[in-house]
């Protein structure tokens, strides 16, 4: 995605600065809000970085689950809530059967898969019937499914579906509000629930990870420059500008590398920053998320990915060229639902507690808001935008209560502000997109 961006900017360098600002206005506005928020909150760097890291690893998967439907032209898939419900069903089952730690987690992934695929198939069929209104239909489908989910777990489990034990509300029918996934073995005192079982596989200091990433990235860039230089480039102009960009990237990575080294191995920094070395990264979780991000990039280059793109760009052309559009759209939603389910398992295991009737409710709202804040639109979204969006959105999430407290004397105000931002950013993005579509349509009509 970096390539694409740099090419775009390099080609349109002259006088296109204003276009760049307009196209990325949401993201730029957010960067400003976040900077103000960080300053106003006076948050400790230790807390900020560690919380951001945790949220980045646990939320990115869910946001990435939105990408395929966007490419397939179905807009933002608000029904990832249903994938989350599939995950929660699986988590409830493994917790009830007392499958412990990593085995339980694996069980949850396996059990959630068929549920999510079947549900995804039905959502896909429904969305094929509501063409042109997929987003609102997917949102309402989410609410509808939430009703069914509650009906099952509040009124049927314990009654028609026999379940007993401390999961059930006293009285015999319905699941409790919360399920503890960090349950300890009464004898040994070890955690036997699936909570944190992915995170705890291998943890090590975060800044070692940063150093590794920086070194790898710089090496990659240097190789890129060399190969670029060797090629007799057709458009020499764009290469030179690319080089500037690459050098800037090298410098930023280098600075980050130096900062990491200072944090880990020296005492030169003030205490506020020096204690950053205590932050650990859940390496396996991060690896899973990065691998999934890679998958999203790679799949678009395969034949299937091209099919998704063709369907997304023009259904009629796709139909004429022999693509079964309806089937491809169903497949896109099935994949999205499945990934949402896996993402929700990663999310819940990190939290260590399952809020039976609440954990899934805000998933779609926050994921969609994050993606849009990263600069995505209804028709275009990239992996980079997903990560940037999660970073910005969750920075705001962390700092806004404290910023509200410091600026207005009320933490609640900051909390309401961030909810407003989540809804508002979706409303504005969708509105702008609808407006552009209408202008385009009018242009075509008048021509």
């Amino acid at each position: 995605m970096n390539n694409e961006k740099s090419n775009e900017t390099s080609i349109n360098k002259k006088g296109k600065m204003s276009d760049f600002i307009i196209d990325n206005s949401v993201t730029i506005l957010f960067i400003i809000i976040c900077v103000i928020g960080i300053i106003a909150s006076k948050e400790q760097p230790l807390i900020l970085v560690s919380m951001l890291l945790e949220r980045l690893t646990r939320n990115s998967f869910l946001v990435l689950a939105l990408l395929i439907p966007v490419v397939a032209g179905m807009g933002l898939n608000f029904s990832i809530t249903i994938g989350a419900m599939a995950a929660q069903v699986a988590i409830i089952v493994v917790s009830y059967l007392e499958w412990h730690t990593q085995a339980g987690l694996l069980g949850a992934f396996i059990i959630s898969t068929p549920i999510a695929l079947v549900l995804g198939y039905f959502i896909g069929r429904l969305l094929n019937k509501t063409r042109g209104q997929e987003m609102i239909a997917s949102m309402i489908t989410g609410y509808f499914a939430d009703g069914i989910y509650q009906l099952i777990f509040l009124f049927i489990v314990g009654g028609l579906i026999p379940m007993t034990g401390d999961f059930i509300i006293p009285g015999g029918v319905g699941l409790r509000n919360t399920i503890d996934l960090m349950k300890k073995d009464p004898v040994s005192g070890d955690v036997i629930g699936i909570g944190k079982s992915l995170d705890h596989v291998w943890e090590f200091p975060f800044f070692y990870f940063v150093m590794f990433l920086c070194v790898a990235f710089i090496a990659y860039l240097i190789v890129k420059i060399k190969t670029n230089g060797r090629k007799k480039s057709v458009t020499s102009k764009s290469v030179t500008i690319n080089k500037k960009k690459v050098i800037a990237q090298i410098i930023i990575s280098g600075l980050l590398l130096i900062f990491s080294i200072l944090v880990m191995w020296t005492n030169l920094l003030s205490h506020r920053y020096a204690i950053l070395k205590t932050i650990d990264i859940s390496f396996v979780t991060a690896l899973v998320v990065l691998a999934f991000a890679g998958f999203n990039i790679v799949i678009l280059k395969t034949k299937l990915g091209q099919t998704f793109k063709t369907v997304g760009q023009d259904k009629h052309i796709a139909e004429v060229s022999g693509i079964k559009v309806d089937k491809i759209r169903i497949l896109a939603i099935m994949l999205s639902t499945l990934f949402a389910a896996w993402g929700q398992i990663i999310f819940i295991q990190n939290l260590g507690i399952l809020n039976t009737y609440g954990s899934h409710k805000q998933i779609a709202l926050f994921a969609v808001a994050a993606l849009l804040i990263g600069g995505a639109s209804v028709t275009k979204a990239t992996v980079g935008q997903a990560f940037l969006g999660v970073l910005l959105f969750h920075t705001l999430f962390i700092v806004s209560p404290k910023a509200g407290l410091n600026l207005f004397g009320d933490a609640q105000l900051g909390e309401y502000f961030r909810t407003f931002v989540a809804y508002g950013v979706i409303g504005v993005s969708l509105g702008l997109h609808a407006w552009k579509t209408m202008v385009m349509k009018n242009k075509i009509d008048s021509e």
Partner: protein, 346 residues
Amino acid sequence: MSRINKIGVPRLIIICFFMLLWILAAVKNLQVSILISNSLVRIGMNLIMVLAMVPAIRCGIGLNFALPIGIICGLLGSTCAIEFHETLNMSSGQAFLFAIIIAVPLAILLGWLYGKMLNKIKGSEMLVSTYVGFSIVSLFCIAWIVLPFKSGLMRWPIGQGLRTVVSLEGTFDKVLDSIWDFNIGAIHVPTGLLLFCAIICLIYWIFSHTRTGIALKTVGDNPKFAQSSGLNVDRYRILGTILSTVLGAIGMIAYAQSFGYLQLYAAPLMMAFPAVAAVLIGGASANKVNISYVILGTILFQGLLTIALPVASSFFEAGNISEVIRMIVQNGIILYALAQGGKLYE
């Protein structure tokens, strides 16, 4: 078969379910008279907000998911009434009127702005309006803290801002419900409330037969035809949006007086959905609506919700089953309508 298709399968299921519940209530020896009384109140409480869907559908913006804009105006009017009713020494009837007088101009202003916005996004009204509704509710979460209301009836005793639930006791609690109310046997009839709804419906019915009302409908039915016959489509769409927002505001005030409390902060977030569902259950679609649909839909939907809980709890420990049924029925019918309407876009 064609008749079943005309009514629609989900609608048929809901009607059967509705009748089944009432039969069960009678069989189980529940106090049917109390259930009927409660249903009457809830039908009256919700009717005007459902009616707010009519001008929106008629003028072509479709189901108005941004009803919270009107609702917020209604809440602002009501909070102002509480704030000033002591200093201005208002009776409860005056306070009720005062709330409406404050709310309506606000609703006209916001409805106008919102209508202008909708004219720029033709074709995606439903989705965008949903998020406009959500945004304004969450914006007002901040406003309820910041606005300079002083009345001790509304503010938290300690801390900032207004309470999440504000009692209307002493202002206009039950002001409509208690006008000319009477009992038939054990059934309590809130005459004033029902009469108020009837009057508003009548006014709207008369309006829809005026020149403007007919033009409004023409614009919604066939914008191209309306344009070619010299009607300003965009202006009528704005008019429809304003009317819908104003009805939402009045509907909220009527709802609050019957409920006895104002629910601030996040409470209005989802309030558009029951209204949308009711009008759809009554037989409306995204481009066809009638006042009779509004009345039928409200009776079926609110009647169903009132009776579901007592009937269910006569069988088992039912908890909040009414809420769950509301979610399933309400969103199911909206989905059905979307799936039916989807064919228009092929």
